[in-house]
């Protein structure tokens, strides 16, 4: 779909204008505070210099947290898919498992984290498991819903054609569930970096190695390094964008050709 040129320009210009406005507001708040409290809101250039100063540390922490997030997220994708296939088999299986999945979901991660640290020790393993726990549930629920929501007419058609159970699942139910799967994946992608950062906050390990972003947050806040703390926040934000962006790209690749969510007035 082609937009008129001036509309397209506005599409880029408007966020740019609001961005500049926000930076101006930021400076205004910074200088509006009294000198004794000014350190609470570091100015944008202080944050930039924190980046210059702590660059390697921030990068290392981002890689560490990113690795944990990616491993936990990946494990959640694979295992949730298997679990969803099992759950889709019958309402009885779902009745048997759902209450316990709910328990897993309802127990706050903040409570689980210290238990995990005692079980497997601090470090990447704990961070990965915490990320996994936080991503698993939305993925299972959405994928299962997708697998059992297959168009009744299509199922009838496959049954009439005497499709095997295997064919029905892999030629019909799984592709039909893809949009639901991606809904779960999008939710999990926003949760994965948060899970890894929270995990790192409780179960990160800087002893003998590189701490993650959660660990840095603790260090910088205890040292009142506001600029570095803000820089850490920016890195966390970028990490989140990378995850969501990656999933949106996958979603586009898998669905844009056929799914209605991508239909435009190209007919």
């Amino acid at each position: 779909m082609k937009k008129p040129a001036n509309l397209r320009l506005a599409h880029w210009l408007i966020p740019l204008v609001t961005g500049v406005g926000m930076i101006v507001a930021w400076y205004a708040v910074h200088f509006g505070l009294g000198e004794d409290r000014r350190f609470l809101v570091p100015s944008p250039n202080e944050v930039l210099s924190a980046f210059r100063e702590k660059g390697p540390t921030l990068w290392g922490a981002a890689v560490s947290t990113g690795t944990g997030a990616l491993l936990g997220f990946g494990a959640a994708v694979i295992l949730s898919f298997g679990m969803a296939l099992v759950l889709s088999l019958s309402p009885m299986v779902r009745a048997g498992f759902y209450p316990y999945l709910m328990i897993l979901q309802m127990t706050p991660i903040i409570v689980i984290a210290p238990i995990l640290v005692l079980w497997v020790g601090p470090g990447l393993m704990s961070v990965t498991i915490i990320t996994f726990l936080i991503c698993f549930f939305p993925m299972v629920v959405n994928t299962t819903q997708g697998l059992i929501s297959t168009d009744r007419n299509l199922v009838d058609y496959f049954r009439m054609r005497k499709a095997t159970r295997f064919q029905e699942i892999f030629l019909l139910r799984v592709p039909a569930a893809l949009p639901y799967f991606f809904t779960g994946l999008r939710i999990a992608a926003t949760l994965a970096p948060i899970g890894a950062i929270v995990g790192d906050l409780y179960a990160g390990n800087s002893a003998g190695g590189q701490g993650g972003l959660g660990f840095l947050t603790i260090i910088y806040s205890s040292q009142f390094e506001m600029g570095a703390l803000f820089a850490t926040a920016v890195v966390c934000c970028v990490l989140g964008f990378l995850f969501v962006g990656g999933v949106l790209a996958l979603n586009w690749l898998a669905l844009h050709k056929w799914h209605d969510s991508f239909s435009q007035s190209d007919r």
Binding site: D151, N153, L154, D156, Y157, F158, R159, M160, R161, K162, A163, Q167, L171, L172, P175, A176, L178, K257, W258, H259, D260, S263, R267
Partner: protein, 257 residues
């Protein structure tokens, strides 16, 4: 001329779902190979149920159905079903959709592609092979659905109001095309419809049903010669038959109320 043995025979067939009310009550008819049978009647007369019984999708409650001397549950591949909805897989292109029944029977990919190509050409959609369903119009989707049904040439073709959702122009076109394809592939056809005009135009026999419970009310022979074309609709005989079946249908509907 000796009459060939029936390809489909219903003998005192009854159908109810679970403990529900009787849907079909003592249905008796025999269909010869090559017949084009239209099933018409008020909603709730069980005409779609009859197709499901022939397809083997649903079991009967009493009586007997003989298809080619066998039970409906066996030899399913000889029967093809076209539903009211196109029931295409939205993530597959038109050609891939046509290949689905062949995939289910593990036919080699090269042969699948070739047969799908021919089948799409048959319904006039050769140039839409790589389109996804959402890029096709309602009539085109229905054509793909028919191409899919014909990709493994069936002996019995079951059509459940396939053109019900289309506008009259597309419907007339598809009716003519369906008969043209039938000249090349000799199936026995069962066609459920609400449209009297469609029933008369397509079939050589019309079974008129009454509802609650579904009973076979009357059979009409359509003696219009094949091939039928646009001109057929203008003939006096055609219009006479349409009027006759319409009034029959009205009397059946009165019967109910």
């Amino acid at each position: 001329m000796p009459t060939p043995p029936p390809i489909v025979a219903f003998e005192k067939v009854e159908k109810r779902y679970g403990d529900g009310p009787l849907i079909l009550d003592r249905i008796d008819f025999a269909v010869r190979p090559g017949d084009f049978v239209a099933l018409i009647g008020p909603s709730g007369c069980g005409k779609s149920t009859i197709l499901r019984l022939i397809s083997g999708l649903s079991p009967i409650s009493a009586g007997r159905i003989v298809i080619d001397g066998r039970e409906p549950g066996s030899a399913v591949e000889e029967r093809a079903f076209v539903f009211q909805e196109p029931t295409l897989l939205p993530w597959l292109t038109a050609a891939r959709n046509v290949e689905v029944p062949m995939r289910l029977r593990s036919i080699a990919p090269a042969e699948r592609a070739e047969r799908a190509r021919r089948s799409l050409a048959l319904v006039g959609l050769a140039d839409r092979a790589d389109y996804y369903p959402r890029q096709l119009s309602g009539g085109q989707k229905m054509r793909v659905s028919i191409a899919r049904a014909l990709s493994i040439p069936p002996r019995i073709l079951l059509l459940d109001e396939p053109f019900g959702a289309l506008d009259e122009m597309s419907r007339d076109h598809l009716n003519e095309e369906l008969l043209a394809i039938r000249e090349q592939q000799a199936w026995t056809t069962f066609f459920v419809t609400h449209s009297v005009a469609e029933a008369v135009f397509l079939s050589n026999r019309i079974l008129v049903f009454s509802a609650n419970p579904g009973r076979l009310h009357r059979e009409i022979q359509v003696d219009l010669p094949y091939p039928r074309t646009e001109e057929t609709r203008l003939s006096a005989r055609y219009q006479h038959l349409v009027a006759e079946v319409s009034s029959l249908l009205r009397s059946v509907e009165r019967l109910r109320s």
